[in-house]
């Protein structure tokens, strides 16, 4: 059996991976001991989680169908069902496309390295690690807080719903329903006593795990983006020393002091005739080279190369090769980052599309529900809670998607701001091709339909506010 060794992204994201495995996602790799019995056990755990999630979701849905008579209840139940739809979608999506996730996690297993840039590489790697951990803590705190808030708000206020009075069709009465986190239909009576306790505990488990499923996957996606961004920062930082190094690598470098020395009488180096302009009828009296450029003009000063294995400025062949290898390191690292970002997009793009579809419908309904808020009570708290949670989820991945776009398009600025004009021809063509490639920013798209950026978040927020304003006016 192969010895299990963690490296690359898997090692960096081990806490994330362990949490994801713990919450019941179908992530069955990355265990030290993957023998038959343990593997079956883990698979069984995942399947049991899936069954529980689907059962509870089914109960929610049945409740939606049963309570569709009352418009308010219909809206509220639809919002709940949509909320948990997107948690189930993420769970099933991961189970179905886990190979793509494994591939993305495995892409950074063998990064290249160069002795000149090891320090910078390690520094940015540590920075990325720190940010990924911080994000994970924030997500854990946020998920736990949401689950606790949801549980506590269940015990506030009355646990009733309004139905038609069986005696008088026009009146409505309040009927008590079980005090549970999520309104659902159960084949047993969960009003009080032991069934109520057990159902409550099951629902707490369900809510916590559903939130964890969705948020942990999103944080995995964002951690990948953090890593890619820090790699781009590293590449931007080493551009300047690379340029300075390659300025020493060339076949023709005029000594700048020579260019501005006063010409000597014995100099053979004037390539432009002193009296060229006076000979030329059109330019006579208009332009005089010597006058324009001053007494220091010397024309193209050619350099005499020393013979032997030492090139200009005293670089040996070995040093030349080192500079060439530095350029190779830069380009290969950049290509690796491009591959990583493409793999991230392939793995998670469709999930983001589905998320946005569900969120759009849910936020529209929430805007409608928000118009019915009459005061600071349980209803207001739940509506605002849903709203904030949904918007926070969208904001979570939009902000990191936006950062990736910014970082990847700023590589060109970094290439331009280094001393490229001092560089060799080879270095300048290298900068040219890099600039061309980085003009088009790397971005994650939701299955080619939209780009993940803060623009997306702004348009979602704007749409919600517009619907809310319009619906308030219509009341």
């Amino acid at each position: 059996m192969m010895k299990f060794k963690v490296s690359g992204l898997v090692a960096d994201l081990m806490p994330n991976i362990r949490l994801i495995q713990g919450s019941g996602h179908f992530m069955l790799n990355y265990h030290a001991d993957n023998s038959g019995a343990l593997h079956t056990l883990r698979l069984g755990y995942c399947c049991v989680t899936l069954v529980f999630m689907l059962l509870q979701y089914g109960c929610n849905f049945v409740n939606l169908v049963l309570e569709r008579g009352d418009v308010n209840d219909l809206a509220a139940n639809t919002i709940t069902v949509l909320f948990f739809t997107h948690c189930i979608t993420k769970f099933v999506y991961f189970a179905v496309r886990s190979k793509l996730f494994y591939r993305t996690l495995g892409i950074w297993n063998q990064p290249n390295s160069h002795p000149l840039f090891v320090e910078s590489n390690n520094r940015y790697h540590a920075l990325a690690l720190k940010k990924m951990r911080r994000l994970l803590y924030i997500i854990i705190v946020w998920t736990s807080f949401s689950a606790i808030a949801w549980t506590s708000i269940t015990f506030v206020g009355e646990s009733v719903h309004t139905t038609k009075d069986p005696e008088n069709e026009n009146l409505t009465i309040s009927e008590p329903i079980p005090r549970l986190l999520v309104r659902a239909w159960y084949p047993w009576n969960a009003m009080s006593g032991m069934p109520h306790m057990l159902t409550l505990i099951f629902q707490v488990y369900y809510v916590f795990f559903a939130l964890a499923h969705a948020n942990l996957l999103d944080s995995l996606f964002c951690s990948w983006l953090i890593f890619a961004c820090e790699q781009l920062q590293h590449l931007k930082e080493i551009m300047k020393p690379l340029m300075e190094l390659s300025a020493t690598l060339d076949t023709y470098v005029p000594k700048s002091a020579d260019l501005f020395r006063a010409p000597s009488a014995t100099s053979q180096d004037n390539l432009i005739e002193n009296d060229y302009n006076s000979k030329n009828e059109d330019l006579k009296g208009v332009y005089s080279t010597r006058q324009e450029l001053g007494g220091h003009f010397r024309g193209a000063a050619l350099q005499n190369f020393g013979a032997g294995g030492v090139g200009p400025n005293g670089l040996t062949k070995k040093q030349e090769l080192m500079v060439r290898s530095a350029i190779k390191y830069w380009v290969e690292r950049h290509k690796h980052v491009v591959r990583l970002v493409t793999a991230i997009g392939d793995a998670y793009g469709v999930a983001l599309l589905l998320h946005m579809l569900t969120s759009t419908i849910m936020l529209t309904l929430l805007a409608y529900q928000a118009t019915k808020i009459t005061g600071v009570d349980k209803y207001a708290a739940t509506v605002i809670g849903y709203l904030l949670f949904a918007l926070a989820q969208v904001f979570h991945f939009c902000i990191f998607g936006n950062r990736l776009i910014e970082e990847s398009s700023s590589v060109m600025e970094a290439a331009y701001s280094c001393h490229w004009y001092d560089g060799s021809e080879e270095a300048k063509t290298f900068v040219q091709i890099v600039c061309q490639q980085c003009q088009k920013a790397m971005s994650i798209s939701g299955a080619k339909f939209f780009t993940i950026s803060l623009d997306l978040f702004a348009s979602v927020l704007g749409a919600v506010v517009t619907y809310f304003m319009v619906l308030v006016q219509l009341k």
Binding site: V331, K335, V338, Q432, I433, Q436, Q437, K440, F449
Partner: protein
């Protein structure tokens, strides 16, 4: 790297079926002047039948202009028929260019792929074939349902709405045969032209995929002048391939663009009206099933144009990225400057447009569906006001 030439695969075979079908109906241009009277008669029959049907439907619409639901029923088939005649006219007008395209596809530059790449290309064309089969099958099903419809009713209903200058009851059988014939002609030619366009576009995007792979696998490291010359030559071949594919796409656009534009315009209306009819017609009837199949066919038509156009656009967009993924940093200065110029060209993706007005992409599909839905909402509102 040596680019091999594959003799065993002829690009023109991709659309062999459509070429045969359209030759049978007399519309595909023939190189050699044999069997001219046969093709001419066939084309004449097709055109006469279609135009007669068109005029009868115009007559029906004039008669029915006050009743909204009957009008939409006729308008639905009228728009399809009108679009078909437009596409057919466009095809007939530009058909000589198809021979030029065929000749271009024989050029050696299109055959610079390895065995593995040929496999990828064939699978791509294979998926196009599958879609073509599904589309044809649903067209045939539509025609069958459509012919069966009037026979199940008690009254002597005609399959297609149309005004005819004689009493339809006396010549019932002849009229039915005529209308079924016209529908067959329309579906046969329409689907063949559509599938031919899709296949040509698929060939272009397949060639671009091959070009991408060639660019990425190009070995730039050269030790000595001879290897340098070879690398330069290989890169030159890639550039030639790029130019040839762009040329091919432009030629395809030149031939089919106006027809596609008409298709898009009328698809908006057709999808809207079919949706409306689905509302009006009772659910548990053969007519409902027929309308669902018809809706599927119409959606498939416009969606496939947008899909293949989108594929060409995205594939050509990625050319720059794939060129970057090679080991270009090992290359000589001369080649690097050529690479720069090539990258400048790849910044602009190759797009197919419909009449130079709208590009074929998934974004266009979304906007077509959105406009369809808004017209549908208006129509529904009017219908409710009427009744």
């Amino acid at each position: 790297m040596v680019l091999k030439r594959i003799q065993a695969f002829d690009l023109r075979d991709v659309f062999k079926t459509e070429r045969t079908l359209l030759s049978l109906s007399g519309f595909y241009p023939q190189r050699h002047q044999i069997n001219v009277p046969f093709y001419f008669t066939s084309a004449l029959i097709n055109v006469v039948v279609s135009y007669l049907q068109l005029f009868s439907m115009i007559g029906q619409m004039v008669v029915d202009r006050k009743d909204l639901s009957k009008l939409t029923d006729t308008l639905l088939f009228f728009m399809t028929h009108f679009t078909f005649l437009g596409k057919l006219t466009n095809f007939g007008y530009y058909r000589r260019n198809l021979l030029t395209i065929e000749d271009d596809l024989c050029a050696e530059i299109f055959y610079s792929f390895s065995e593995k790449q040929l496999g990828i290309f064939i699978s791509k064309i294979g998926s196009c074939n599958t879609i073509a089969k599904i589309f044809r099958m649903s067209c045939v099903l539509c025609i069958i349902f459509y012919s069966v419809l009037p026979l199940l009713g008690d009254e002597k209903n005609l399959p297609l709405p149309g005004w005819l200058p004689y009493d339809t009851d006396t010549f019932y059988l002849e009229t039915i045969i005529f209308q079924i014939l016209s529908v067959c002609v329309s579906a046969y030619n329409n689907s063949s032209i559509d599938i031919l366009t899709w296949k040509l576009i698929a060939v272009a995007s397949g060639e671009m995929e091959i070009l991408k792979e060639n660019l990425r696998d190009l070995e730039y490291k050269s030790n000595g002048d001879k290897e340098l010359e070879m690398t330069k030559e290989t890169f030159g071949i890639c550039i030639q391939q790029h130019n040839a594919v762009i040329d091919l796409v432009h030629k395809i656009e030149f031939v089919f663009s106006k027809g596609i534009f008409m298709q898009f315009l009328s698809s908006v209306i057709i999808i809207c009206f079919t949706g409306f009819q689905l509302l009006v017609v009772p659910m548990a009837s053969i007519q409902f099933v027929f309308l669902v199949m018809y809706f599927f066919c119409m959606m498939c038509q416009v969606a496939m144009y947008c899909w293949y156009g989108h594929e060409v656009m995205t594939t050509s967009d990625e050319l720059g990225k794939f060129c970057y993924m090679s080991n270009w940093y090992d290359s000589d200065i001369n080649i690097r400057k050529s690479i720069t110029i090539f990258l400048e060209k790849t910044k602009k993706p190759v797009v197919l447009t419909a009449g130079k007005f709208v590009t074929l992409s998934l974004a266009t599909l979304t906007s077509i569906l959105r406009s369809s839905y808004s017209y549908f909402a208006v129509l529904q509102h009017l219908y409710q006001q009427d009744s």
